[in-house]
Subunit: 339 residues, 2 copies
Amino acid sequence: MASTMHDVAKLAGVSIKTVSNVINDYQYLKPETRQKVLDAIERLGYRPNLSARGLRSGRTGVISLIIPTITNAYFAELADEVMRAADAKGLSVIIEQSNGDRDRELSLLTGPRTSMIDGILYSVLGLREEEAHLLANIDTPIVLLGDRIFNGPTDHVAMQNSASTRAATAYLLSLGRKRVVAFGAHSGEVIGSAGLRLDGYREALAEARVAFDPSLVIEVYEWFRSDGARAMRALLDSGVAFDGIVAFNDLIGLGAMRVMQEAGIRIPEDVAVVGFDDIDETRYSLPSLTTINPGKDEIARVAVQFLQERIAQGAHAIAPREYLAAFSLVERESTAVAS
Amino acid sequence: MASTMHDVAKLAGVSIKTVSNVINDYQYLKPETRQKVLDAIERLGYRPNLSARGLRSGRTGVISLIIPTITNAYFAELADEVMRAADAKGLSVIIEQSNGDRDRELSLLTGPRTSMIDGILYSVLGLREEEAHLLANIDTPIVLLGDRIFNGPTDHVAMQNSASTRAATAYLLSLGRKRVVAFGAHSGEVIGSAGLRLDGYREALAEARVAFDPSLVIEVYEWFRSDGARAMRALLDSGVAFDGIVAFNDLIGLGAMRVMQEAGIRIPEDVAVVGFDDIDETRYSLPSLTTINPGKDEIARVAVQFLQERIAQGAHAIAPREYLAAFSLVERESTAVAS
DNA sequence: AAGGCACATTACAACGTTGGAGAGATTTCG
DNA sequence: CGAAATCTCTCCAACGTTGTAATGTGCCTT
C-alpha cells in the first residue's frame, strides 16, 4: 500500500539510511544525492510512518492538552492558541477533557495513551496542590497551566490572577463605585482562580481604604452562564445593595448581566460590570463587557515552548519554572463612564 | 524506564505472547494464567506502547477531527460530542483546524500525520463538491461532515438544513410575521449550509403562499457575531422593513439582535428572531434565542460509529452512506408570543 | 488405545524507522 | 607526499508489539 523508505531507497538507488538522513536533514549529504531522494519521495508520494518513528526514536510529535471542557469558551480559545503554537513547531495536539475530575486527570496523566505522547499541557482543576508531588513520579514531560498548583515539581504557566483582579477592582473604585461585588468566590479556597482573584479584590479595597464587606462576596461554584444567572437572582432577592461587579469570569458576568437587565437594572448606569477572560463574546454582548485579557496567547506560546524544551532535555532535567503572562484591562460599555 | 511486555512476561513466568494475549482478551487463557499476568502488570505499572502496537497492527486508536476552527461554539460543542463518542469506544481524538482553507484541508487529509491516525472525521468547508473525487484516492477511512459535499465517495453525516430552516421560517409565518428576513445567505451558493438553508426558507414561503422578496435575503459571508452585527447595521441603514429573522446561525443572530436593540427595536415584539445551532449561549442571551437544534450529539455519535466501521472493514469496503440527523425547534423568548 | 478435537501456551518473524559504528572517498595541511 | 581530518554513505541492530504457525496438554470418542 503506502510506500516505505525501502521503496524510496530502491528508486533513488541509495541505502535506506540515506533516505532517513535526507528526511532528518543530516548535514553531510551531497546536494545531488539529496535531490535524487527528494525526487523519489515526491514520485512515490512517500510519507514517513510516525508509529515506526515513534517506536524507534521515542518521539511521536504529539502532545496532549488536558482541559476541563472544550465547550467553555476560555478553554476553546486557549486550545486554539495552543494548537497554533504547536503547529508552528510541527506538533500535533490531542485534547482530553477531564471535567475537572481528579481521578480522570490522573489517569490521563498516566494512562496508556501517554505512550504515544511526547508531553502534556495539563490545565489543573481536580488535583489539589498538596498532591502535586504525585507529578514528580511521572516521566512524561508536563507543563502545568491554571491556578491550582504553584511551585510544583515542573514548569507552570499562569495568568496574574491577583494583580489583574486587583486592577479591575481598583478601576471600578476609581469610577466612583462604592459597593463592588466580588462575584464568583469559592469559600475557603486559598489558592485557585477564585481564591487568588478574591485576594486581588481585597488588596484593591485595602489600597483604596474601602472597608471589606463580606456580604458583597458572592459564591458561584460553577462558572457557567447559568450559575452566574442563578447567583445573581439570589443576590437580588437578598436585597444587598451594590453598584459594581467584578465577575471572576466572563460567563458568570454575562449570566449576571442578563438577570440584572431583566430586573430593570441599567448597566453601567446602576451597576458597572467587569469580567475576566476576554472571550470573544464579551465584544458582542449588550452591553459589551469590560474584561481582563489574561494573555491566553502568551500563555499558550510559553507553555508549548517550555514543554518542548522539557521534551528535548528530559522530563525532570530542567528546574521548575514559574511564568506569569502579562494581562490588560479591556474597557468596554459595561463600565463606560456616562458622557 | 517504562516496563515492557518482556518485563511482565518474566515476572509472571510466561511468554511475552501470553502477555499480549491477556491484554487483547484472547479467548483461550486459563483464568489462573490471566490473573498471574494481570498481577504482574499491576505490580510493574505496565502500559502498552501504542507506537509499537500501531506499527505492528496498523491501528493506533487515534482519529482526527478536521474542523474550521474550535473557537466557533458550534464546532467546540461538536468536538465535545465527538470526543465523548470516541472516548466511549476507546479512541483518542486529534483536532486539526483548517480555517476552511482548501489546501490546508487536503494536506491534513494526506499529510504525514495521517500515518498515525486510523481515520478522519472531516468537516468540509474549503473543498468543493466537484472535487469530491479527490477523496476517493485517499486510503485513510474518512467520514464527511457538514453541508458542502453530498453523495461523495464516502460516508456523510449531516443535519437537515433545508427541512429545519423551512420549519423555522414556517414557525415565524405561523406567528403572523409578514416580512421574514433570511439572514446569512451566500449569493450564488447552491449547496453548502447557506444555500440549503435558503432553500428551506423559500420552500416555507411557497408553502404559505407568501411572495419571495429578494430584498429580504441578506448576505453575511462570515458567520461570526461581528459579521451579523455589521450586516444588521447595513440592513437598518437600507430602510427595508421586516418583522422576523431567520438567522442562518446563532452567532450572526446574536450579533444582529444586539444591533437591533441598540437601535431601539424590541425583540420579539417588533422583530422575532430564530437562530440555528442551539449553542449554549442562546439559552442565556437577552432575550434568549429561539433556535434550531440540529442534532449535534446524534451527528457525532453516528459519525464516529460509521468511521469505526470503516476502519474495521477498510476505507473503501463499505458503500457510501448518507445520514441526516433529527432536528428540533427550540422555542425561547426571541419569538415568544406576547401574553 | 489411538485418533481427534478443543484448549493453552510459545517461538519467531515482522511492522518501518533511526542510532551507532564504521567504511570509503575526498580534502586539508604540515 | 603522507597522515589526519572531513565528508558521504552504508550496514546492522534495535525499538515493543502482534500475526502466524507450531507445540503441547488433556479429554472424549470409537
